[in-house]
Amino acid sequence: MKYSIFSLAKAAMSGHRGWTRAWRDPVPKDRYDVIIIGGGGHGLATAYFLAKEYGIRNVAVLEKGWIGSGNAGRNTTIIRSNYMLPGNVGFYELSMKLWERMEQDLNYNTMVSQRGIINLYHSDAQRDAFARRGNSMRINGIDAELLDAEQIRKELPFLNYSNPRFPIMGGLMQRRGGTARHDAVVWGYARAANDLGVDIIQNCEVIGFQRTNGRITGVETTRGNIAAGKVGMAVAGSTSRVAAMAGLKLPIESHVLQAFVSEAIKPLIPGVVTFGAGHFYVSQSDKGGLVFGGDLDGYNSYAQRGNMPVMEDVCEGGMAIMPMLGRVRLLRQWGGIMDMSMDGTPIIDRTPVEGLYLNAGWCYGGFKATPGSGLVFAHLMARDEPHPEAALFRLDRFRRGAMIDEKGQGAQPNLH
């Protein structure tokens, strides 16, 4: 059923009894052309683009829990394309362009809201680094503005200009950055993929791979064996665990990243703001909660929860630049498992195991990549060659020394 104000009004007349499932609850078939492991945003988007752009509709998405139960449902909803290095710049802009037409593509209001993102800078060196980044963006046709302290004061009058530890000297702004409603992205892709014939199978955990002559021919799941022409992994957080079933060892570590939301308050913060001299970033959801976060806890973890030092560090950062937050109450704290790659950049590639494709290593930036990741991964799986905008996200780049390291931290995942 098409969603619109008219269908909504019509449904209201009959007490909304006419609405049907947003996606079916199918019994797994014996075989699919393509199986995507992982019913998060990336997996569902991949299935959607396989069906829509590449005509491959005999596709199943296998999800061990409920769709969106991983990082798709526990991120801080930020979208942006303010990257610096070749490989990243083009890819994230491709993704941003897909965000900009998502609601119309999917007929689902994912609340893509381009209220802008400002990365504050607090030193000359940081300004220079942002200038380099912003110019990279501009050279690639992406909007970017370098704001000075006065301009920042106009955009964000509530910041601490009077007694900050690290003075606010300016910021890099991408006006097209913003937020989107993360759960809705999952549901929107699920519904749209479902309408194109994709089977979305929840509560179906992959527990092994079936192989013939080394090639992957299917998966073993908690709901039985399913044959497949190709299998794609989009299981950020669990990548190493699933890859290990296929005998692969990857340049990835799993780390916990916490996020926080405050009680709902009336509009206070317009867009996304990131603190450049501490670990704190914040936006305000449409519901009114301040959604904020900071740094990784720093240790390998699959526990999906973090500890107090980071929680305190984040709030200290908040109180450094926004002391008006003092009496706003923190309502919920949660943690996600980050697929931290060794250079801070994702991997979208074929694997040494034939028939198995990898979409991984998103670090804490996977949400904004959702539509782009789906498109380029679908391209890779359909054509067996990388999408032009994802051509540098190769698995062998570490072996070759062709890392894409925006932060320059090297093979230390918890520093990216």
Binding site: G15, N140, G278, Q284, N307, E312, G326, V328, G408
Partner: protein, 1017 residues
């Protein structure tokens, strides 16, 4: 006290004679009982709600004072702006949220049920306009047929650009509850640690019993209680313990606990989180019960309690029943009614009806009657009076109805009547101004689930009980599903004694107090279906039909239900709504409740102010200030400081006549180039490296050799990370056979120390080498310029030979200063001039700066800051932070030749990878604008002259720039593809961010004295 009158208090004997309807608002304490309660009638407190002045008593909460004043309407709901009242008497309150205080201290969404009353309290309702009674946005209720769960996902999509400009701003304005202050919080917060053996959470019967048992064994006990006083439900429900009234037992027990030196009692302290390693987080409300904290006092204190064991006796939460109209002001939890009557001596209604599906609810009827109140009727779907209450019912002629409440009659000011459908199908209306509801009790399992343990369904009590608890935690009493007073006491005692024993305290814990075993029989009733909105989540306006809609649309998982309908996501985190929601989902989807499952419980248990997590680490105290040894001297000279990591460094020293920083910096540069200047460089990391294998060790961490360095000499060294990328650089000197002094950059001091220790301890433990960080031990000054030697001679003991022969370039040794202090002197140069660096113990740093000025006076010595330092290093072509950016190789920096081929060192192998040795890498070059007037800026990109800027023509960028007073133009360094092959090429400097585009020449990065004559002179 003006405004306070004791007229017409609610009387225990004459309640029915009172004539008071909804208009009683403002009548002083019209609903207050004459006697009883834990309030101090001698301490009246005046307060204001929505501008209306009222009076309560010490011991009141804002909620109890409002009830005592007959106020029912206190809030509007989130979505439909439905009128709402007070539902509970605790931190689980979903409805009665108010804005407390004003201006910079305004606090939105404060629960009236936990806010202690104080004299002068000012609170107001929120989310309504123009007034609470006449709220314009209640129009949303009319649109409620459209505004169902998830409606916004289905609309607002056309036209696309209207989302940010029209729809979203409207939604954002409508959403949110209270307004935050929007000004810096003027109050202070503290963060502290506490350690104990046994942490007891909650001070009801079970918690007190646990604390007593553990305390008697000698274990160190901390007892935390979120309320203002100990007792938990004992304060509301009374009872008999060890033959005493509960209140008496409570006094005795509190006294025994207080007398124990090993027990710490903390009231007003809410435990909200459980973290790893037995770390618990609690918030103490130190001064929320006064208008403004006293001077030098904090508002709140964040406790991090490290406990070997914990006993969580957090009680249970009564749950509502979902039926049409169940959100009307005056519909309250049955246990809350008991609390208001017994503890606060405030009668929530003149005619109170009761709707219960369990025995416990009946205690409310008893409490009302005992206090002289009137029970309109008791509605119990089970159709019989529990044995314990039969006599009471008979004596009072209690009206008992077998059936359910199917609707509420009333208006904005609350309940006027209830509609009951009997089990025989007959419907009748009963007049009442308050309805007490009990749907049964949910053990308060939250804290047990914070480590993702899943609670377990218990059919007997139709509720979830704790499953796997976090390590070291035991649940006790009602929190575990033990509901009788006797069982709570026994269970708490056993848990407390066991926890103490686990910590090694086996002394006699005494015996448990004894009490009766009240029955708790329940027939689950989740929902009464009928026409009209039946609320599940009161704050977020999630109705039963929203839950079934979500089910129809396939959002069946409880997490999908939560996210699609926002059930349980309000400030109460679903304490009163989650279980009801999932019971309705279970019924709709044909599954059992345990099959349907629960959502994940997440900390904090109750919302905590962000300021409390930050404590004193805010504003300018966000992070520590590291001051260089000569900081105070520099400050006295008027230096401008710059933040470098945590350091404050002197950036330049302005002189009165100078009009801008550039003039000051250029003066400082020229003073060094033509005379002598000095700069505090103590922020450089310094490491003492000692041991027989010190040289071998350094050979392995630097790309170049150090074991071959002669004693008394210094050498520039470059370190790689193991991935072959440059980590850091610095000068290392050999002071003795087995003693090196290593320096790092300011930024990497900590990282390098950690790395060196890793190499020493983990990679090569067999080497005889020890490291100590000496960064803070030495004050180090760079002294540079052609007159450096003159100045040093004036400073050093005359016996020291500082001539070129006696102290050649790259020499390093100890010298004696005039006055006897021993210093370390290094003849190294960052500026390209004849230069030394001198180290003295850090305590002499300030004096050293003063002495340099005195000794240097004849040579017009000039102190210079980091900016001049940077100008001179750029002129000289030395790389620094912007070039050592974590992606460059030694060869990229032009230092590839330093890499030894004769030894293994960290990073050697990986540096050889194909992409790191490719010929088209970006390497360090000099950049010189063609137009000598042109200001060069860092971060501009380099494009071939005839090309258009684009991803394929972006060949590098400008890393560092300076205005060079020596060349009288802007110069820079950059990383440019194949740069060293391109000296002389004119390129385009593209800077779209700053609307600049100009030409520059690529050249050698060494702009100053390329032969190095000056530094060797």
């Amino acid at each position: 006290m003006s405004g306070y009158t004791e007229s017409q208090p609610f009387s225990r004997t004459s309640a029915k004679e009172e004539d008071a309807g909804p208009r009683a608002v403002g009548n002083a304490q019209s609903h207050r009982l004459r006697t009883g309660g834990l309030i101090d009638r001698k301490a009246p407190l005046r307060f204001t709600f929505d501008g209306q002045v009222m009076t309560g008593y010490a011991g009141d909460t804002l909620a109890s004072a409002l009830i005592a004043n007959g106020v029912k309407l206190v809030a509007r709901s989130f979505k439909y702006h439905r009128p709402r009242g007070i539902m509970t008497a605790g931190s689980e309150e979903p409805s009665a949220l108010v804005e407390m205080r004003s201006a910079a201290r305004r606090e939105p969404n404060t629960r009236a049920t936990t806010q202690e009353l104080y004299h002068g309290l000012v609170a107001s309702s929120q989310n309504s306009w123009p007034s609470l009674r006449r709220d314009f946005m209640a129009i949303n209720s009319l649109l409620s047929p459209i505004f169902v769960a998830g409606f916004y996902y289905k609309t607002f999509m056309w036209p696309a650009k209207f989302w940010e400009t029209l729809y979203e701003p409207l939604i954002r304005r409508a959403a949110g509850l209270g307004k935050s202050a929007g000004q810096p919080d003027p109050d202070h917060y503290d963060k502290v640690w506490a350690h104990c053996d046994v942490l007891v959470v909650g001070s009801g019967a079970a918690g007190l019993s646990a604390a007593l048992a553990a305390g008697r064994t000698g274990a160190r006990v901390i007892l935390v209680e979120e309320d203002t006083r100990l007792g938990g439900r004992l304060l509301s429900d009374g009872g008999e313990i060890d033959g005493m009234l509960a209140g008496e037992w409570l006094r005795e027990t509190s006294a025994e606990l207080e007398a124990m030196g090993n027990v710490r009692i903390m009231t007003r302290t809410a435990l909200f989180g459980v973290y790893d390693g037995g770390t618990y987080a609690a918030l103490e409300r130190v001064n929320d019960h006064v208008p403004v904290p006293g001077s030098h006092q904090v508002r709140q204190r964040l406790w991090r309690i490290v406990a070997k064991r914990s006993v969580v006796a957090a009680g249970a939460l009564e749950r509502p029943i979902v039926f049409p109209g169940n959100d009307r002001p005056g519909v309250m939890m049955a246990s809350a009614v008991r609390t208001y009557v017994n503890r606060f001596a405030a009668m929530p209604g003149r005619q109170i009806a009761l709707f219960t599906n369990n025995d416990d609810g009946w205690r409310t009827a008893e409490a009302i009657q005992d206090a002289g109140g009137s029970v309109a009727a008791v509605v119990d779907p089970r159709g019989q009076i529990p044995a314990a209450y039969q006599a009471m019912a008979k004596a009072s002629g209690l009206r008992m109805l077998s059936g359910v409440v199917s609707d509420i009659k009333g208006g904005v000011d609350g309940v006027r009547g209830i509609v009951v459908i009997g089990n025989d199908g007959r419907s009748q209306r009963i007049s009442a101004d308050c309805l007490a509801v009990s749907g049964g009790w949910n053990p308060n399992v939250g804290l047990s689930c914070f480590h993702r343990g899943r609670p377990v369904w218990h059919e007997d009590i139709a509720a979830f009980v704790p499953g796997d608890c976090p390590a070291g935690m035991t649940m006790a009493g009602a929190a575990k599903g033990e509901f009788s007073l006797g069982e709570c006491l026994r269970d708490g005692h056993a848990a407390g004694a066991a926890a103490a024993a686990d910590c090694g305290y086996h002394k006699n814990a005494g015996t448990s107090a004894q009490a009766g075993e009240e029955a708790y029989a329940i027939s689950p009733l989740w929902q009464v279906k009928g026409k009209g909105k039946a609320f599940v989540d009161f704050q977020h306006d999630v109705t039963a039909s929203d839950v079934t809609l979500a089910q129809r649309e396939g959002y069946e998982s409880v997490e999908h239900l939560k996210r699609y309908t926002t059930l349980g996501m309000a400030t109460d985190q679903g304490k009163t709504s989650n279980i009801n929601g999932l019971a309705i989902m279970a019924a709709a989807s044909g599954r059992s409740i345990p099959e349907t499952g629960t959502t994940i419980y997440r900390p904090p248990y109750a919302p905590v102010a962000i300021g409390a997590f930050a404590g004193h680490n805010r504003d300018e105290n966000f992070h520590a200030w590291r001051l260089a040894p000569s900081h105070h001297w520099a400050a006295a000279r008027g230096a401008v400081f710059v933040d470098v990591g945590l350091w404050k460094r002197a950036q330049w020293y302005p002189q009165p006549a100078e009009k801008d920083w550039l003039q000051s910096v250029s003066r400082e540069v020229m003073a060094v180039r033509n005379g002598v200047g000095f700069c505090d460089v103590s922020t450089l990391g310094k490491v003492d490296v000692r041991g027989a294998d010190a040289g071998v060790f350094l050979d392995r961490v630097y790309i170049n050799a150090f074991s071959s360095l002669a004693i008394g000499k210094a050498r520039y060294g470059l370190m790689l990370r193991e991935d072959g990328i440059v980590m850091d650089d610095g000068t290392t000197s050999r002071l003795a056979e087995d003693h090196y002094f290593l320096t790092t950059t300011t930024a990497k001091a900590g990282v390098v120390m950690q790395h060196l220790e890793f190499c020493r301890q983990v990679l090569w433990p067999e080497l005889d080498v020890q490291l100590s960080s000496a960064t803070d031990q030495w004050a180090q000054f760079s002294i540079a310029g052609p007159k450096t030697r003159d100045l040093l001679q004036a400073l050093c003991d005359p016996a020291e030979d500082l001539s070129n022969e006696g102290f050649p370039f790259m020499g390093a040794r100890e010298v004696k200063l005039r006055g006897g202090v021993t210093a370390r002197l290094f003849r190294i140069s960052f500026s390209g001039e004849m230069a030394f660096e001198i180290s003295v113990p850090a305590r002499y740093g300030n004096a050293m700066a003063e002495n340099l000025m005195i000794a240097g006076k004849p040579f017009s010595v000039t102190p210079y800051g980091t900016e001049a330092l940077s100008v001179m290093r750029i002129e000289k072509g030395h790389v620094a932070g912007p070039e050592l950016n974590g992606t460059t190789t030694a060869d990229d920096l032009g230092l590839g030749k330093m890499m030894s081929r004769k030894k293994d060192f960290i990073g050697r192998i990986m540096a050889g990878r194909e992409a790191l040795t490719a010929p088209d890498r970006q390497v360090v070059v000099g950049i010189k604008p063609i137009d000598v007037q042109r200001r060069l800026r860092s971060g501009a990109h380099v494009i071939p002259k005839e090309e258009l800027p684009g991803p394929d023509t972006d060949e590098g960028y400008v890393t560092s720039v300076c205005f060079s007073p020596t060349h009288n133009q802007w110069l820079g360094l950059g990383l440019v593809r194949r740069g060293r092959e391109r000296y002389g090429e004119v390129v385009r400097i593209h800077d779209p961010l700053r609307n600049e585009d100009y030409e520059a020449e690529i050249c050698s990065p060494v702009f100053y004295d390329p032969e190095g004559v000056r530094q060797r002179g």
